[in-house]
Symmetry: C2
Subunit: 308 residues, 2 copies
């Protein structure tokens, strides 16, 4: 039985309602955290612009849902860590969009950060968000709700996933690969660093917050790795078949840049099949979890069917 066929499953929860609630929880906290006045007003405005530009908040929600799967209430510190994750994700989008990088004018249907604030301010807004994430994660009022060891572990998970061995490294390999023929193994490695690492880390931090046992941590990591891969293949497919309106950014840009993608290696149909298989494997990783992992399961279906 292919468990990604939703018709086989009873409706256990309203995922749209869940996503809306959690998104609002994260966005309200982000707005509270990113307030300041005086000489720093402009800098914070640039950071807030991209933070509040309407993201789906998948990564912070995965963190909250992983903590919930372990029966941990998504109150602080989970929400604070979730916000830090979204700061890291947003910084990476701001820097990716820069003229020297992907040179994108639109992101989520809105002008990119450098289009609004200028290139220098956009670089600094990204730098600010990245550093602020670590400031948040080490703030005494947040860390007091975890053991210092748990806080340190969360910081390490996210720094490793976002750093040279993770997201930045993946972006660097992506850059070096543009316009070149690369083997499939390179594409896999690139995806696992560039997209997979932060998605997996988001779930791992939720696992730490929820005091996961070693086997629970391992199972959630497996779920995260597969989900991250599925997410990236869907991204690749949408870049081919999506419209600019749906994506909120230019469609077909990967092909224009001669980027290696799953559809380029396997075609769109086979890539879609691979997404289903990967989501299926992600769901199987959750087999030992009870109904409290339902949001994680529904998030996998959501990623399978997303249009942007």
């Amino acid at each position: 039985m292919i468990i990604t066929s939703k018709t086989n499953r009873p409706e256990l929860m309203d995922i749209k309602k869940y996503l809306t609630e959690k998104r609002e929880l994260v966005e309200n906290e982000l707005l509270t955290l990113l307030q300041t006045d005086g000489l720093l007003t402009d800098h914070f405005a640039a950071m807030r612009y991209s933070l509040m530009a309407g993201g789906k908040r998948i990564r912070p929600i995965l963190c909250l849902a992983a903590a919930e799967a372990l029966d941990c209430d998504p109150a602080p510190p989970a929400v604070s860590i979730a916000c830090a994750i979204e700061c890291i994700h947003t910084y990476s989008l701001i820097h990716d969009d820069l003229p020297a990088m992907d040179n994108d004018d639109l992101r989520r249907g809105k002008p990119t950060n450098h289009k609004v604030f200028g290139e220098a301010s956009a670089i600094l807004a990204g730098d600010g968000l990245l550093t602020f994430a670590f400031e948040l994660m080490s703030r005494h009022d947040f860390t007091a709700l975890l053991t210092p060891d748990e806080s340190l572990r969360i910081i390490h998970i996210l720094a490793h996933a976002a750093g040279p061995y993770g997201m930045v490294g993946g972006q660097s390999i992506d850059l070096a690969s543009e316009g070149k023929e690369i083997p499939f193994e390179t594409l896999q490695y690139l995806h696992s660093c560039k997209t997979g690492a932060l998605i997996t880390a988001s779930i791992q931090t939720g696992a730490v917050i929820g005091h996961a046992s070693d086997s629970q941590f391992e199972a959630l990591t497996g779920y995260g790795e597969k989900l991250g891969l599925a997410f990236q293949i869907v991204d690749d497919i949408l870049n081919v078949v999506g419209t600019e309106e749906e994506l909120g950014k230019a469609a077909g840009s990967d092909a224009e840049r001669n980027k290696a993608t799953y559809p380029l290696f396997f075609g769109v149909d086979k890539s879609r099949e691979m997404v289903k298989e990967t989501v299926d494997a992600a769901l199987k990783s959750l087999s030992e979890f009870d109904n409290k992992a339902e949001p994680l399961r529904e998030l996998a279906y959501y990623i399978l069917s997303r249009r942007s």
Copy 2:
């Protein structure tokens, strides 16, 4: 008695030898830490290029010297934290030099990172170094030598000093102030964020490593704040009176960019006088410390007399 007159002091140590030894200690560790192969080789090469481009390593040495002032051997974890500090400092230089920022071709007499690796790789090298610093600070093999609380405190001190309320914020205000007349208070605030925060934080992290009491921490913070200010005023003066050869970068660039500086507000002679007074105040902050604080004292003289 003005204590910055060195003739009044016996020679207690050979500061040049001390600086060389500590610089080598930090550089050897940096080289070890920034090694990798495979697909990440180019990314690490870009990070290593700027890291190993001959900096004076003032900030990491201040961290080591502060730990030493508290009778703490500058072995790990101090060296690892010192390396993380240098990664943060180097990232800030790479991003400051970018075409969209100061557009500098030379740094420490060598082509800037984007001149060698291109703009996109330079942005990523900076991002990588910043994130790697937090990865290092949270690595279990390093943090095991401190209490988890001490590790978290160090991470928070550095994230706060490097982030929106510190270095990045200062850089943002600096950018917004270019070509504008700003009040002296804005220049003071800008300097304290942009340069002072990371210098003070370097000393504070050394204080945490050395298990400082509250009053020792406060005294070292006072020393750091004054040292940071003196450092920036000297920077301003050197930009006016230094030669390109001495500085390893273009001289007179502040005036060209209409940047507010201490010499612009007070002239070079009065600014020099202010450096002496500030170093004097820094030294007074150390009055309760014994001979083990001699490297910190000599570092203050060193900053007073530096030519680049």
